[in-house]
Symmetry: C2
């Protein structure tokens, strides 16, 4: 088990010595993210494809996979996200208290350093959907951590010492941190959480060297807050107009307007644009916030340096179901209607898979990726608006009335767990929920730091079905499901697709599964210590390919287990549907690393 990490060690030396100036740091990440031997950002690369060129482990031999080593994090609640690998070091995070471990791959995963921030445990009380954290970011010899209490901390990647820290928000007002940072150029981008507490969403950019905030772009408010240009920023091809982030609201309601930004950020180096989504408007009671509630539920394209919005697309104006728009934006080239397009593909909580021209924001494809979706019959491609089905309109049915059998449930046909795209198969791999809900909007008053939800929910599988989850392959050029695998529980794990023609994902019972990327046929499964809601990553060390995943059940879907809740409507309605999960698994964070039997093999790249 002694491994001599020459390649790894030299890569680390490179990573830690090169790029001390912002310009070089920008180049460094561009290079590193293209190296399949490392896993340098949560979604694998700037395009967020979660695709690896590695193919030592492939559809012919993945059945022989075995566990190489494992590591307990010592934290019990839901473990979202996954480890980074830079050179011979692996960087691993945990849910609250947000520990960070640097594991030395040249020493069998021994702990080179660990960091545990001091955070007020009261922060846990304002985290709606488990005390999750979706990972750390790397750049310029530093590891960036976004803590639950909103602190942004830069740690020396060699020593774990704090280089700088900044405060992004105020947990006293319900502002918390769960999303992974993203580094673009010399900026680390930080979203916020707290859409169930009347928090106003914002994406903020901090200088990676100094920690100074360079820009902040709110989801609502005047143009000076949203960083929109009334003439140049477009929506469905047209200028958004002056202060569009206030126009969609009655009075000052935008100030409590949600639209938080706790998902993922993608980046296109060609155009220097970043892409991310904003979440639900506050409250969940649509009657309390007349208007389009701009720019909640929106895909944003912004200039990476200035934060200025280039285009927006609001998927679910005046949301009535909590269909947050924060899911990842996957950047790819796709043939749409016979033309090669530079696209952005997004699987929204609302159950539609969107393909947009990522340069212009033009809506190309918008189709249901789960046939259960019933709140809208389709998306009008001209207006961009969903064609709503009145029976499932929680506003039409009214306050204090239970709207029944709405699909998907609030946690969406897919939540934050990131999909993957394989340029080899041309398919997108969707880790999906298959859950419907009853939804009762209720009046709620705003009190800073208190829940500002305004709805009672219960969740359950679609009528006549029993599976709460599905893993589906999607053609984004035509908007069609190619194949699907049913799962008893939501697939709440991020997918990995590889050049070995394998797609990996985890299940809430705890299985890591590998399927044939072309057919969906199951090739391998292994039961890890706990339910998997983490993202599967891959890397090489010493020329050999490894696959790594965090288990540790929790997250919104398993909030009942994670927080010990019991009533059907607790956990924002998730508890009831997932109650039987406790018959399969138990809390506890563990990293499991997989390999093929035998020693180091010739690297595929």
């Amino acid at each position: 088990m002694t491994r001599i990490g020459l390649r790894g060690a030299s890569a680390l030396a490179l990573a830690l010595t090169v790029a001390v100036t912002p310009v070089l740091a920008r180049d460094e990440l561009k290079t590193l993210q293209a190296d399949p031997n490392q896993w340098v950002m949560p979604l694998g690369n700037y395009a967020s494809t979660r695709y690896s060129e590695l193919s030592q482990i492939n559809s012919s031999n993945v059945a022989n996979l075995r566990v190489a080593w494992s590591f307990s994090t010592g934290v019990l609640r839901g473990h979202e996200g996954g480890p980074l690998v830079i050179g011979n070091m692996m960087y691993l995070h945990t849910p609250f208290p947000n520990k960070v471990f640097a594991l030395d791959l040249s020493k069998d995963g021994a702990i080179a350093w660990q960091y545990e921030p001091k955070q007020d445990s009261k922060t846990i009380g304002v985290m709606c959907c488990d005390t999750v954290n979706r990972g750390v970011a790397y750049a310029d010899g530093k590891i960036f951590l976004h803590q639950a209490d909103t602190s942004v901390v830069a740690l020396d990647a060699k020593t774990g010492k704090v280089v700088w820290s900044a405060v992004d928000g105020d947990p006293g007002k319900g502002e918390t941190g769960t999303g992974a940072p993203a580094v673009v150029g010399n900026l680390v981008l930080i979203g916020n959480s707290g859409g169930e507490y009347g928090v106003r969403g914002a994406l903020s950019a901090y200088d990676i060297t100094t920690g100074k905030r360079v820009w902040r772009a709110f989801s609502q408010g005047p143009d000076s807050d949203t960083l929109m240009d009334p003439k140049k920023t477009t929506s469905m091809g047209k200028p958004v107009g002056k202060d569009s982030g206030m126009a969609g609201w009655k009075g000052d309601a935008w100030k409590l307007g949600g639209g938080t930004t706790w998902g993922w950020t993608s980046y296109d180096p060609e155009t220097d644009l970043i892409y991310y989504g904003s979440g639900n408007p506050g409250t969940w009671n649509p009657a309390q916030r007349p208007g389009d509630n701009r720019w909640s539920m929106t895909i944003w394209a912004r200039d990476a340096k200035t934060g200025m919005a280039k285009w927006v697309y609001q998927m679910t104006p005046h949301d009535e179901w909590d269909y947050d728009g924060v899911n990842e934006m996957i950047l790819a080239n796709q043939k749409v209607n016979g033309k090669d397009r530079k696209v952005l593909v997004h699987f929204d909580r609302n159950g539609f898979g969107y393909t947009l021209d990522r340069v212009t924001g033009e809506l190309l494809v918008a189709e249901k990726y789960d046939p259960a979706v019933n709140w809208a019959s389709s998306i009008d491609k001209k207006t961009g608006l969903p064609v709503r089905v009145k029976a499932y309109s929680t506003e039409a049915n009214g306050e204090d009335v239970v709207s029944k059998d709405i699909c998907p449930a609030a946690l969406g046909s897919k939540d934050q767990q990131p999909a993957a795209y394989s340029p080899k198969t041309g398919l997108f791999y969707i880790p999906g929920n298959h859950v419907c809900m009853n939804y009762e909007p209720t009046k709620v008053a705003y009190v800073a730091g208190s829940p500002y939800v305004g709805a009672n929910l219960t969740m359950f599988p679609p009528k006549g079905e029993s599976n709460l989850g599905r893993f589906a392959a999607w053609d984004a050029g035509t908007g069609k499901v190619v194949w699907e695998v049913k799962e008893p529980f939501s697939v709440w794990s991020g997918v990995l697709a590889t050049a070995g023609n394998v797609a990996f994902y985890g299940t809430m019972e705890g299985y890591l599964k590998a399927v044939d990327a072309t057919t969906g046929k199951e090739l391998y499964k292994f039961k890890t210590p706990s339910g998997i809601i983490g993202n599967v990553n891959t890397y090489t060390y010493n020329g050999k390919q490894y696959v790594a995943v965090l288990s540790g059940v929790g997250g919104w879907a398993a909030i009942g287990m994670a927080a010990g809740l019991t009533g059907d409507q607790e956990g924002l309605g998730a508890v009831g549907a997932y109650r039987s999960l406790s018959q399969y698994t138990n809390l506890g964070g563990t990293l499991t690393v997989f390999e093929l039997p035998g020693g180091a093999q010739v690297a595929s790249k």
Copy 2:
């Protein structure tokens, strides 16, 4: 991974339906403990050999071992003990809060039921050496749990429902439960913990059907308490005399006399005798308790039905070092001085390996099993007394004086982690510490429920060495070490020896290791999620052999990590020596189950 458990299922049916009367229950366990396909008691069988006749996994193929599945317990502190396997069910326990899981092997380890007692968390405050629990016992369709708060609970093995519960002691006085129950006939035997709180040791027997206490045998006090016959109970071949359990004490000191019984109990069906050891006398300051302190530090042979003592052997009269006598008693047949003897072999905390005639209590062999031992030069075979070395006498050096470089340290050359005996090699396999100490006795006053320790300690490796642990093979007929493997930290894991000529043990960094049972050569290692202080077990399911072990670092040696202690003298002196352990592993309880690649194989038995 679908396993059809015909053999397993029928064996369970047998286990759950046979033996509803005490007489049958006695027969049932006698039969089950001889079946290598199951693991029905913590130490594998009544003789406590931790030896398995299984040989599918053997020294030729163990290098191919891989993880079959894993299971997180959801509890963070030290996981001692190991799982039971009866039919197709596995029963797993945790440290405080003492959860019990029934895992269905026919359903890939899904949770058939779980039980979590309600216990006052204040109990944790009177547990000296982590909140450990060493396992559950099985008999008569019931699982027996000994909780931290001293409750003894019988659970229906099929449903997890409480059949009965009994209270063994009072945590308010420092009485706690950490030891595994043992079932002999229709009695479940329960020892107690709390030697650092002035608790008086006792072994108590409860009826497995009703939970009624049948007898209780104290370690000190009048004959009516100790269940000794002044004429028939012998020590070194002579009758002990009247009220011997009071004679070794000044005044009423025996009432706070320690001698707790938190180790293991063995049983010889031929003679109907049970064997166990008693712990340190209270306090750790020898000057405060003049006398032999009978019967602390004693090996006990008692009649299983009545509890009456047949013979005793006090290893360390008037202890000056906290060398508890609770370690397991291994029953075997050995050639000693050319004669075949029915022996009891015991590796005491004091560093001597004892071989006694288990029928008569005759002392046959007593030699150092760790060459570092220096507190005594030898054991006088005629008197049974250790020949003490004055320089290391903490009493001779006096109160408030630091006695230096005493070997072993208080946690012994071996602690409770059970050894194994292979009749195939004739060797005993010792999971050992290799630790010395400085020891300063101090005056202490008794306050019920408060620590009654009376000494300050620091621990470290023997001079000129750096390894704190060793794994050694021992010839109990001659009292000689045959080979040893050095380990950086104490080997705090129970050993498994098999007919496959393999010995398995775990390390505190988290490795499961397999060595050649004849030579000690390492054949396999795997890094589990956390440090291993659990005991390695084996069983078959559906004709295939599995090896199972709990990881989850803690216990006295790792109390610094488990309880977050930092000062060198904290944790009764263990913290300092083991501080670097946190560079290798982290808290978190996980079961890891190992197998050979491929499907079910022909069972060896």
